[in-house]
């Protein structure tokens, strides 16, 4: 029972990550390998504020969002005029640098030792100590994030993003300031990734840099590639699939020492199959060009 609660909590957290990355990749067409960096920035800012400055959870979460958005401008403002594959590389570089900072600035982040004993959040007076109550919390947060991202996607803003994905030059020729839209989309994605980070920190009560690596960014990307981009069902399907797959494997009795690797092999195969036969993902919108 508690294990099921654990999986559901993680699904909520990854749903936020997938839906926010989708705004960037699926709607705007910007492939980014730095989502885990913002996930980590959110987790760390929130945890440090709670541990070192005794902030309560909600203000800490808000400041994490602000911090992640601010940091996102550091990479987006200079890089968003770069061509597609160059931007991917810049985002990859940024991801690695952020990880390095989290790992090596030991005085600030406690580096590889991580931050432990993070207090469970208190929301409106209730401290969420049980896994069940935390699940209710994480589901509510995921639903709110999902709802907001849906509204943003369906709005005229989202429409311009999709136009940019289809043809940047045409969009610009119709009076849309493309760089500005991209920077804002990137900031929104970063902000929501930070929210996921805070929920994660409050849940596990322990964070360390190894949860926020390039491999993690690739994993989140895999979720939306496989599940589908450009709408809401895609990322949700992908999240459920990718997080339940390990459970399915252990159910089949695959030995623990090779299970994680076998899982990755399956992800890899799925990515290749999907890219070849159904590039929009299992439940995605239209065909990915």
């Amino acid at each position: 029972m508690t294990y099921a609660l654990h999986v559901l909590n993680m699904i909520s957290i990854y749903a936020i990550l997938a839906l926010s990355l989708n705004l960037l990749v699926g709607y705007t067409g910007l492939l980014s390998l730095s989502h885990a960096a913002f996930y980590g920035i959110g987790a760390y800012i929130c945890s440090l504020l709670m541990m070192k400055l005794s902030f309560p959870f909600l203000p800490a979460m808000l400041l994490s969002i602000v911090g992640a958005v601010a940091i996102s401008f550091l990479i987006s403002l200079p890089s968003l005029r770069l061509r597609g594959d160059y931007f991917v590389l810049a985002s990859l570089g940024f991801q690695i640098i952020v990880f390095s900072v989290l790992y090596n600035c030991v005085e600030l982040t406690q580096g590889p030792f991580g931050i432990s004993d993070i207090p469970r959040p208190s929301v409106f007076g209730l401290t969420l100590t049980s896994a069940g109550s935390y699940l209710a919390f994480s589901v509510v947060v995921a639903a709110v994030c999902g709802g907001l991202l849906y509204l943003i996607g369906q709005s005229p803003f989202g429409r311009v993003l999709k136009a940019i994905r289809e043809d940047e030059i045409a969009a610009e020729s119709l009076g849309k300031r493309v760089s500005q839209f991209k920077v804002i989309a990137f900031a929104i994605a970063a902000g929501f990734a930070a929210v996921a980070g805070t929920v994660f920190a409050g849940y596990l009560r322990y964070i360390d840099p190894t949860s926020f690596t390039l491999v993690e960014s690739i994993f989140i990307l895999s979720i939306i590639i496989i599940g589908g981009t450009g709408n809401v069902t895609g990322p949700l399907t992908g999240t459920a699939l990718m997080l339940l797959l390990p459970e399915a494997l252990s159910f089949l009795g695959i030995p623990d020492n090779i299970a994680p690797n076998l899982r990755q092999v399956i992800y890899g195969v799925l990515i290749i199959l999907i890219m070849r036969y159904r590039p929009q993902g299992l439940m995605g919108e239209y065909r990915y060009q």
Partner: protein
């Protein structure tokens, strides 16, 4: 001063002069055409106007103000729109969305506003739907709002691109080969639209290879060759000029 003017504009790429000291003036309420052999610099002129290129020498003026070196979004926000040779509709967006995204001043284009002022944005969207239908009606694409742009024929995509330009309320329309690759019925439709637009006081500049179109629908023609404006004026006069004739024969 004319609505849009290029004064002694030169564009050099390394040692090659794509445009060489060209001066052109385009007036409101008129259809102007750039004609000439391939590689004469016509598309380069369009790129220089729309901000995709910056002149090496000379300047571009719009409503008397210098716009050379402006970023493309500034030029288009000022009212200069473009129909590309390869059309460039938003393939996987619906016909409706292709047109809707072009309207100016949409509150919902701010992400924050679309959340905080959701009801206002909804109302705006409803109103825009009506305008989209009108525009599609005027270009002959009525009833196709929910189709994907990629599923339209080439000619229909051109009409869609024109509808987009109209939605964006562009004052100057740069049309790169608007009638190329399109069946004669569509050509008539496109030219009818151009006439309507011009009658409304807009400035239309086309790059055209079809000499019948130039003779019958164009007010001012500029013949370009090797980056220079060799001859300009009333189309029949331009086409009759000996140097124009020889240039075309040599093609």
């Amino acid at each position: 001063m004319s609505k849009l003017e290029l004064q002694n504009v030169t564009k050099a790429f390394g040692g090659v002069l794509a445009v060489d000291g060209a001066s052109l003036a385009f007036d409101e309420g008129k259809v102007s055409a750039l004609i000439g052999p391939n590689g004469a610099g016509k598309t380069t002129i369009f790129n220089l106007i729309s901000g995709l290129l910056c002149p090496t020498e000379g300047d571009v003026y719009y409503d008397g103000k210098k716009i050379s070196g402006f970023a493309p979004w500034r030029v288009s926000q000022a009212g200069v729109g473009r129909l590309f040779q390869d059309v460039r509709v938003f393939d996987r967006l619906t016909v409706r969305d292709n047109v809707s995204m072009a309207f100016k001043g949409q509150k919902g284009e701010s992400a924050i506003m679309s959340i905080i002022k959701r009801w206002q944005v909804s109302r705006e969207e409803k109103e825009l739907r009506g305008r989209v239908e009108e525009l599609l009606e005027s270009v002959g694409l009525a009833g196709r709002e929910d189709e994907l742009a990629v599923d339209l024929s080439y000619g229909q995509q051109k009409l869609l691109a024109l509808a987009r330009l109209l939605a964006a309320e562009m004052d100057v329309l740069l049309l790169d080969e608007p009638t190329a690759g399109v069946n004669p019925r569509m050509v008539d439709k496109i030219l009818e639209l151009v006439r309507k637009v011009v009658a409304g006081g807009k400035t239309v500049i086309i790059i055209e290879h079809n000499m019948n179109v130039v003779r019958e629908h164009v007010d001012v023609a500029f013949f370009m060759n090797e980056g220079r404006v060799a001859f300009s004026g009333e189309p029949n006069a331009v086409l009759a000029a000996p140097q124009v004739k020889t240039a075309y024969l040599r093609m």
